[in-house]
C-alpha cells in the first residue's frame, strides 16, 4: 500500500457541513406532528415515593400524555448490566441498574419520576408543575467511608449494605517486598467528581411508521448498534425493524456511551404508543443529574522503595463512588487499578477496591475513565518518594521505567477488556528524554528556577509519565463499496463525535484504493448502513474501526484486480490502481475507471462464473487480541502567587506516542482538547454535592469549564512505537491529554512553593482550595 494520505495532515472532509450549520444534530430533527417531552425529576436525593398524582397535568391543554412507572406496565424494568465484571477471582459484584421511571424509591436527585408528552417543550414544562409528588425523604448517602459504616442508610436494601463490588488483584508478594524496603510512602488521595459537559446535551427523537412497521430513532449516542439491538426486543420489534441514527454528535466524552438511559427507553416507546414522532432534548441543568458523570475515589496507597528509588511494590486500597446504580460494571475502577502501574516495573502489587453505592447520579466513564486516578496516585507517590530520598523527580521515574526491549510486557493482572494487562510496545525512556529536552528541564532546575526565585517569582515545573490502554475489542466492521459513479462508499458501525472519522477513515481507504480522500463517502453511526459493532469509546475508534476499514478496502482491492485482470488481458500482478483507475503497469492507455469496473462487475444479463460475487464490495471485521498501550509524558510550568494562590499556566508540553499516526492534525487536536479537559478537571471543575446529596452547582455559572484564557497552546512532540496488534500499527489518543494533567499540576505547584510544606493529595483544586491548603500547611509549619 502506498501511503499518500495516511500520515498526512489532510483537512477535514466534514467541515463544510458543520461550519455552515447544515450538519444534523439530534435536536435539529423536526418531523410533522412531532411532540415534545419533559421529565419530572426528583428534588430529593433519597426518598420513598408515597404518591404521584398526574391527573391535573393530563388535563392541561396541549398535553397529550403523562406517564409514571405504573403506566408502563410490563415495559417497566431495570436496564441491562452493560459491562459484566471481568472474571477476577473472588470478585463480588451487586447488580443494580437504572429504571425508566422511579417506582417506590428515588435514589439520586434528578432521577425521573414522570414523563410528560406535549405539543411543545414549553407546555410540557408547564405541566410538570401540575404534578403532585409526595416524597418521604430518607437520609442521603454521600460520603464513601460513611456509606460502608455499620448502620448507614441503604441505597439498595436488598444488598444489606452499600457495597456494589469488591475486587482484589495482586501480583508477586507485596508484604515480602515491603519488609525489605528502605522507605515506605503512605498517603491518602481523594479525587472528586466532574461532568463530561459536552456542549451538546443529550437528545432522543423517535418516529414509528405504522405502515412500514419501522421505527427510526435519532439518538446522541456513541453506541447506535447496541442501542438498536437492546431496544428492538424491548419494544417487541425485530432488530431489522429498528433504525438508530447517531448523526453529528456535539461531543461524546463517554457518558453518551451509557446505554438505555431512561429517556432512550421511553421516547421510542411513547412514539409507538402515541403514533406520533416524539423528541426529548435535555437541558443543561438536567445534564448535571441525568447524564452520567465520573471520578469520585478515595485511595489509601503505599509505595515501597529501595534506597535508590527503585519500586519494590505498591499497595492500594480504594473506594470508588459508583453512584445510585452500577450498569456499567467496573470499567472505571479497573482502569484505575491497572493504569496505576503506569510505565513502571512494579514487581509486587496489591490492589483492592470497593465500589460503593451513593445517592448521587450514576458513574460511568468520562474521558480517561478512571485512568487519571491511577496515574495521580502513582505519580504522587513517586514525587513524595523522590523528595524523601533526595532523588531528582525525573530521575526516580527513569530508574523505574520498563525498558524498551521488554515488550510485550505482562503485568499479570486483568484489564477492562477482560484480557491480561500486557503492554504491546512503547519506548518510555525516549518519551521521558524527549520531554526533558523539549521542556528544558535540566536547565530550568539548575539555573532558571533558582534565578526566578531570587527575583521573587514562584514558578514550578511538573513532569509526569503515564500509559494508556487503548484500542480494545471486541471488534468493529466496515463495508467498502465502489459505486458506478466511481465514488467509494465506506460504512462502519462506530459513531463520530468530532474525532474526524469522516476524514481519517477516508484516508485509510483512499490509500488502498488509489483514490483521493474526498472521493470516499463515509457513513458512521447509522444502523441501516452497518449494523455490527459496539461503539466509540475507550480510544478505540481509529484502531479497531480504522483497521476494519483497511481490511475491507484490501478485500475490494483484490476484487478490483480479479475483475480487471481478464478485462485488461493481463495477470493481476501486472496491474496497478491509482487515480481512480486500474491500469496495466507501464501502459497508461490500458485502463478502466473504477466506476466503470463496478458496472462491469454487476451485469444486468448474461452468465457469470459460479461463485462470483457481484460488484466491487467487501465487508471486513477487526477484533484485536487485546488492547494496546499508548504512552506519554506531560510537562507543565506554572506560576503561583503564594499570597492569593492564583495559578497561571506558563507552558504545557506533551510528548505522546500513539503508534502510527493517521492524521497528525486530528491527533494533535485530540491531545490539545484532552489537556483542556484535564486542566478543567484539575483546577476548575468540581461537582459539589452537599451532605443531603443536593448538587450545588448545576449550571455553567458555577460549574466552571475552562475558557480560551485558561488553556495554553500545548507544545507537542510525537514519538511512534507502532502497535504489533493491528495492521495499521496505530494506538488510541482520544483520552491521552486528560489523563495525567492533575498529577502534573500537583507536582508543579509544589515545585513552585518548595518551602510551603504543601502536599497536594486531592483533586480538583481550585484557587480557593489551594489557598486553604497553603494556609493549613503554613500553620502546620509554625506549630511544628
Amino acid at each position: 500500500m502506498t501511503s499518500r494520505y495516511f500520515g498526512e495532515r489532510v483537512l477535514r472532509l466534514e467541515d463544510t457541513r458543520l461550519l455552515t450549520g447544515r450538519a444534523l444534530f439530534v435536536d435539529d430533527v423536526q418531523l410533522p406532528g412531532m411532540l415534545h417531552v419533559a421529565f419530572l425529576r426528583s428534588d430529593e436525593a433519597h426518598a420513598r415515593i408515597t404518591s404521584i398524582d398526574v391527573t391535573a397535568a393530563r388535563t392541561r391543554p396541549g398535553v397529550i400524555a403523562v406517564y409514571t412507572a405504573a403506566d408502563l406496565g410490563d415495559y417497566w424494568r431495570p436496564g441491562p448490566l452493560l459491562v459484566p465484571p471481568p472474571p477476577i477471582q473472588g470478585l463480588v459484584f451487586n447488580t443494580a441498574t437504572q429504571v425508566p421511571l422511579a417506582k417506590d424509591k428515588v435514589r439520586h436527585a434528578g432521577e425521573p419520576l414522570a414523563m410528560v408528552v406535549a405539543e411543545s417543550r414549553y407546555v410540557a414544562e408547564d405541566a410538570l408543575e401540575d404534578i403532585q409528588v409526595d416524597l418521604e425523604p430518607l437520609p442521603a448517602v454521600t460520603e464513601l467511608e460513611a456509606a460502608l459504616a455499620e448502620g448507614a442508610p441503604l441505597v439498595h436494601e436488598q444488598f444489606g449494605s452499600n457495597l456494589a463490588a469488591q475486587v482484589r488483584q495482586t501480583k508477586g508478594d507485596y508484604a515480602a517486598a515491603r519488609a525489605t524496603a528502605h522507605t515506605i510512602i503512605t498517603r491518602r488521595f481523594h479525587y472528586d467528581r466532574g461532568a463530561s459537559a459536552a456542549i451538546e446535551n443529550r437528545a432522543v427523537a423517535a418516529q414509528w411508521d405504522a405502515r412500514a412497521e419501522e421505527l427510526t430513532i435519532w439518538d446522541t449516542t456513541q453506541a447506535p448498534i447496541p442501542i438498536r439491538n437492546g431496544l428492538a426486543p424491548m419494544l417487541g420489534l425485530r432488530e431489522s425493524q429498528v433504525r438508530v441514527i447517531a448523526p453529528f454528535i456535539g461531543g461524546g466524552f463517554g457518558p453518551k456511551i451509557m446505554m438505555y438511559y431512561p429517556e432512550e427507553v421511553l421516547v421510542p416507546w411513547a412514539a409507538m404508543r402515541l403514533q406520533r414522532p416524539v423528541k426529548w432534548t435535555e437541558d443543561r441543568r438536567e445534564n448535571f443529574y441525568a447524564t452520567t458523570q465520573e471520578r469520585g475515589q478515595l485511595h489509601d496507597a503505599e509505595l515501597a522503595v529501595a534506597k535508590d528509588g527503585t519500586i519494590l511494590g505498591v499497595r492500594d486500597r480504594f473506594l470508588h463512588d459508583t453512584g445510585a446504580y452500577d450498569p456499567y460494571g467496573l470499567t472505571v475502577p479497573i482502569n484505575s487499578q491497572c493504569t496505576l502501574l503506569g510505565p513502571y516495573v512494579v514487581p509486587n502489587y496489591e490492589s483492592e477496591f470497593t465500589a460503593v453505592f451513593t445517592t448521587k447520579p450514576i458513574v460511568t466513564p468520562v474521558r480517561g475513565a478512571g485512568r487519571q486516578h491511577g496515574v495521580f496516585v502513582m505519580e504522587r507517590l513517586l514525587d513524595f518518594a523522590a523528595r524523601e530520598l533526595g532523588i531528582d523527580r525525573v530521575e526516580i521515574r527513569r530508574r523505574n521505567l520498563i525498558p524498551r526491549d521488554a515488550f510485550p510486557y505482562d503485568h499479570e493482572i486483568l484489564f477492562q477488556d477482560f484480557r491480561p494487562l500486557v503492554y504491546d510496545s512503547g519506548d518510555y525512556q525516549a518519551a521521558l528524554d524527549k520531554a526533558v529536552e523539549v521542556s528544558g528541564y535540566a536547565r530550568f532546575v539548575r539555573e532558571e528556577q533558582p534565578r526566578l526565585r531570587r527575583e521573587g517569582k514562584h514558578i514550578g515545573l511538573g513532569v509526569v509519565s503515564y500509559i494508556e490502554g487503548t484500542g480494545i475489542g471486541p471488534y468493529e466492521g466496515a463495508r467498502v463499496t465502489i459505486e458506478p459513479s466511481g465514488t467509494v462508499r465506506l460504512a462502519t458501525g462506530v459513531g463520530t463525535q468530532g474525532q474526524g472519522h469522516f476524514t481519517t477513515f477516508a484516508q485509510i481507504v483512499a490509500d488502498v484504493l488509489g483514490v483521493t480522500p474526498d472521493a470516499v463517502q463515509v457513513t458512521t453511526g447509522d444502523t441501516r448502513e452497518f449494523s455490527w459493532g459496539s461503539g466509540t469509546f475507550a480510544s478505540r475508534g481509529a484502531v479497531v474501526a480504522g483497521s476494519a476499514c483497511h481490511a475491507a478496502a484490501l478485500k475490494v482491492r483484490d476484487r478490483i484486480l480479479t475483475v480487471a485482470a481478464p478485462l485488461l488481458g493481463v495477470p493481476g500482478d501486472e496491474l496497478e490502481i491509482s487515480g481512480g483507475q486500474v491500469r496495466v503497469r507501464g501502459a497508461t492507455d490500458r485502463a478502466i475507471g473504477l466506476g466503470e469496473l463496478a458496472r462491469k462487475a454487476n451485469p444486468l444479463r448474461g452468465a457469470v462464473t459460479p461463485g462470483t460475487e457481484p460488484g466491487l464490495e467487501a465487508t471486513a471485521y477487526f477484533g484485536p487480541d487485546r488492547g494496546n498501550t499508548a504512552n506519554g509524558v506531560h510537562a507543565i510550568f506554572v506560576e503561583v502567587d503564594p499570597e492569593t494562590a492564583a495559578v497561571t499556566i506558563l507552558r504545557y508540553v506533551v510528548v505522546h506516542d500513539c503508534g502510527t499516526v493517521i492524521n497528525p492534525l486530528v491527533v494533535e487536536a485530540q491531545v490539545q482538547g484532552g489537556v483542556a479537559h484535564g486542566i478543567g478537571n484539575s483546577f476548575y471543575e468540581q461537582l459539589s454535592f452537599d451532605e443531603n446529596g443536593q448538587l450545588l452547582n448545576a449550571s455553567f455559572m458555577d460549574y466552571l469549564l475552562p475558557t480560551a484564557l485558561d488553556v495554553p497552546t500545548v507544545e507537542m512532540a510525537h514519538l511512534e512505537t507502532p502497535s504489533p496488534l493491528n495492521p495499521l500499527g496505530t494506538k488510541g489518543v482520544g483520552e491521552a491529554g486528560a489523563i495525567p494533567t492533575a498529577a502534573a499540576f500537583a507536582q508543579a505547584i509544589e515545585d513552585a512553593l518548595p518551602d510551603s510544606g504543601l502536599e497536594i493529595t486531592e483533586m480538583p483544586l481550585s484557587p480557593c482550595r489551594l489557598y486553604e491548603l497553603l494556609v493549613a500547611a503554613r500553620e502546620r509549619r509554625t506549630d511544628a
Binding site: I199, E200, F248, G673
Partner: protein, 159 residues
C-alpha cells in the same frame, strides 16, 4: 397560554412574519419556527455562547432573548455567512486551521467573532483569547481557533 404576538423580523436578509408567544426564546424561534437549526443551544443561561447570533450586527445570546424582542430587527445566523458552498473567509480559516471538532459550538464562535474582528482587525493572541472567553468549547482546547483567527486577520489584507 399567553396571547400570540406578531413578529416581523429579517433573518439572513429574508423577511419573515410569524406569530409567537411572548415567552418563546429567540433561539427556539430561529430553530423551530424558521427551521434554521445552525444556531445551537448549549446551556440556556447565557454562558456557553453556542447560541450567539447577530442582532442588527451585534453579537447576542439568542437563548437570553425572547423572539418578540427581535420584532422589527435584523438577525444574522450562521446560515447567513456562506452562500452555497462558498464559505465566509472566517469559516474557511477555521477549516484550514482545524479549528472545529464536533462543530457544535462553532456557529456561536463564528458569530461572536465576526463583529469583533471588524472592530479589531489586528488582534494579538491575548486579545483573541479574551474575545473567545465568552464561548465554551469542550473539544478543541481553543488553540486551533486562535490560529484560525490569526490566519483570518493576516489574510484580511488580501481580501
Amino acid at each position: 397560554m399567553n396571547g400570540q404576538h406578531t413578529i416581523r423580523v429579517t433573518v439572513n436578509g429574508i423577511r419573515y412574519e410569524r406569530s409567537a408567544e411572548p415567552r418563546l426564546l429567540l433561539s427556539d424561534f430561529l430553530r423551530q419556527e424558521l427551521g434554521l437549526t445552525g444556531t445551537h443551544v448549549g446551556c440556556e443561561h447565557g454562558v456557553c455562547g453556542a447560541c450567539t447570533v447577530l442582532l442588527d450586527g451585534s453579537a447576542v445570546r439568542s437563548c437570553l432573548l425572547f423572539a418578540v424582542q427581535a420584532d422589527g430587527h435584523a438577525v444574522t445566523t450562521v446560515e447567513g455567512l456562506s452562500s452555497g458552498d462558498q464559505l465566509h473567509p472566517l469559516q474557511q480559516a477555521f477549516h484550514e486551521a482545524h479549528a472545529l471538532q464536533c462543530g457544535f459550538c462553532t456557529p456561536g464562535i463564528l458569530l461572536s467573532l465576526i463583529p469583533w474582528l471588524e472592530e479589531h482587525p489586528n488582534p494579538d493572541e491575548t486579545e483573541i483569547r479574551a474575545a473567545l472567553s465568552g464561548n465554551l468549547c469542550r473539544c478543541t482546547g481553543y488553540a486551533n481557533i486562535v490560529t484560525a483567527v490569526q490566519r483570518f486577520a493576516a489574510g484580511a489584507g488580501s481580501r
